[in-house]
Amino acid sequence: MSRLGNLGHRLHRGEVAYDFVGKRRLWYGVSILITLVAVIGLVVNGLKLSIEFSGGAVFTTPKSSLSVSEVQNKIAGDTGSSTAVVQKLGTGSLRIQISDVGTAEAAQIQSKIATDLGLKSQDINEQVVGPSWGQEISNKAIEGLVIFMILVTIYLAIAFEWRKAVAAVIALIHDLTITVGVYAIVGFEVSPGTVIGLLTVLGYSLYDTVVVFDGLKETTKDITKQNRFTYSELANRSLNQTLVRSINTTVVALLPVAALLFVGGGLLGAGMLNDIALSLFVGLAAGAYSSIFIATPLVADLKERDPEIKALKKRVLAKRAADARKAETATDEPQDADQADDDEEAEGAHPAAAGAVSGQRNQPASRSRSKNRPSGKRR
């Protein structure tokens, strides 16, 4: 673990860095590819909707030694025109799904099944769903989705700025597409539980994104008052600095969900727990990916179009060219970036930075180091 801690430190210092922002086109490409695959999967396979969406009845028997085919034979005559789908659950109980039955018929079928399987009627769990119910749940979900998107865009635009809000929402849509795509391609059943999970992903995926953006906001606070780094470079640095944090929060968020998935799938068989956990798991993983690889690079992209930031980029590039001409030795090392921070106490000195001190001294006087301290604190 200390090695990971070390990595955290080196990421913080900028000694190790992955150029997320620089290679953004690669990751945009990857994301577009994934999205395309998801959309194609959705179009070709479609979503496998659970009985809640089409209407019908689900009966769950207590633990039983009967096999699936035995049950199918026994209840063959009970269900009238509709066919029954029989599943054996992890607990040994049986799940019998019958589509297109109303409430009244379901009660009759239940008692028939009970007599055929030699069970008491009240031991059988029954769920009967009207045909419009699933539709209503999905409509509500979409309504919630839209309201949430609007509110969160407004909030993020106030808390950060509109560019970040746009990037966050794009990342969010990206997560949802991936999750839906995974469901279409793998053929997991979509139940109201899945919808719940998906809606929760909204909040959670943004949690990650917000943590990253917060770091970004801090790193780039006084960006126009310096001309050593472009916005993209600082964005990338901030991303690398918060990388450990992002990984940790994601892992810790995924662990309980994994436990739910394991217990929900392993012990209880199919059911609400399993459905929620599965969509959460897929969505959270996609959310972690998108907040690092998509959201921040998008912000950088949008920002670079801002005239002020454009001007900064020009200044930075011009200065670098000038520096390169002036002195062969004084190249801007990215790991020196701490000094661009407004942190007044960068004196937790790192030898690696020593070579760049001259660069520091060349800073214009206007550059505001905080609290009136002379910038040449390094003696």
Partner: protein, 588 residues
Amino acid sequence: MAAPKKGRRSSGSQGYPGRALAAILLAMVALTGGMFLSGHTTPRLGIDLAGGTSITLTAKSNQPNAINKTNMNTAVDIINRRVNGLGVSEAEVQTQGSNNIIVNIPKGTNSKQAEEQVGTTAQLYFRPVLAMAANTSASASASPSASASGSASPSASASPSAKSTSSASAAPSASSTKQGRAVTDGLKAASATASASASATPPASPSPSASATASTGTLDTSIPNDLATKFTALDCSNAKERANLNLNAKPTDKIVACSQDGTEKYILGVSAVDGKNVSKASSGYDTQQGNGWIVTLSFDGTGSKDFSKITSQLSQQTDPNNRFAITLDNEVVSAPSVTTTLSGSAEIYGSFTQTSAEDLSNVLSYGSLPLTFDKSDVTTVSPAVGGEQLHGGLIAGAVGLALVVLYLLAYYRGLSFVAVLSLVVSAALTYTIMALLGPAIGFALNLPAVCGAIVAIGITADSFIVFFERIRDELREGRSLQPAVARGWPRARRTILVSDFVSFLSAAVLFVVSVSKVQGFAFTLGLTTLLDVAVVFLFTKPLMTILARRKFYASGHPWSGLDPRALGVQPPLRRVRRPAARSEVKEA
């Protein structure tokens, strides 16, 4: 070392960590105390965990604005009445979202019957009263009702007040059949005063001719013999008997019925006015005539016509035949007497209290409720499976919590002590609040709510990670622990607040727009997010401030999770540079 000096300074600027800790501990003690005092030491379990039947009804209407809060609440009242009237214990009925009603019927008691009841549409009719009597159990029916017949009270048996002239045939200690005939006789006599044609009807025959004559203008008050027998045998205090009483009765049948509280029983004529023709009903306090609480109702066109017809007939009768019964699902809600012919609107007065007046007006409004309900979702869970699901959820929670604790322990070592304690505090608060919310706002823990609580473990732990990583960042800058905590906090705080706000926003939106089980999930998620903020502010941060003074953490013990070497800070350099750095910090 520099630490002590800094420590004083930072503790001054950070307030009093002890107070915050004391506050949250006090809150915990208060909540736990409240929990034990109120006797609700476990959260109320939802149907899917405790077993039972849960029915979701979706309102449908062909009128655009019919699905509104008032109508839905009226419907909830009515359904509540019907379900709980069956003797089902603790069935709960509540609206959810804008157009759904959830009916939860716990395991046991005639849940099957309740389920059927919920499905059928409630029917409101105005029927003329043919006879009424105080309820008595079937075996003892003869004598008490006979003695009651001597009195003039309206709740007494029908015969005496109905006719003063004819034979007071309600002889004491009459047999049940005799008693029945006595009533019939009495009513016949009563009807004789109103209409000769009806009086000609032999009491023993159900007599279609009688009803035929009645429909031509006069009231048909004849009572078929089988009804009379049924009436005498009827015991309204027996819930089961009442529930089965008029299962297949049509509005065009004469019926025997019980009052809703089961204290009176009635024989009722064919329906005179359909409840659907009530256009409006309200309750109010009558200040002008001093009648106390009254219920006002008005009818639409058809209703007015029918109502004026029946009241003109009824007003010529004597008690109790001048009464009409307002029946909901064939139970008598109220049976006011009529003195004059009424048409478009009417007032009902009597010994109403505010509640009973409102109840009656609600029932009457139901007649005009332009809503029908579809069963959208019916879920029956046997207690065994409910227990299994609860068990599964608890195991999942325990495993999830253990995994998170192990990860934190491995990665943050000593720091995880703070995180784990905070998680424990958070869990304790969540549990006690859930337990208390059960009786307070009817919160019931269902499976999605359990799921939400488990997912919340991750969200809560994330806040600690944000804080810890901040502290480590500050340590990497070369600070010692106490200033690192002091400086790391404001930034971590902002991140935590912003991200928790987003989390809470999603939970709130989910709660407002969602239906059914989703709400339970959203509720727990929102609750735990709020608690997360409280715990981080009032527990984690103060605890961290206090622990930062301890040598184990402050000196960066290898197991503290704050070892500068493990974090990659080179100690020798730090030692050399620190004195200069310190003076700068002071200015900052």
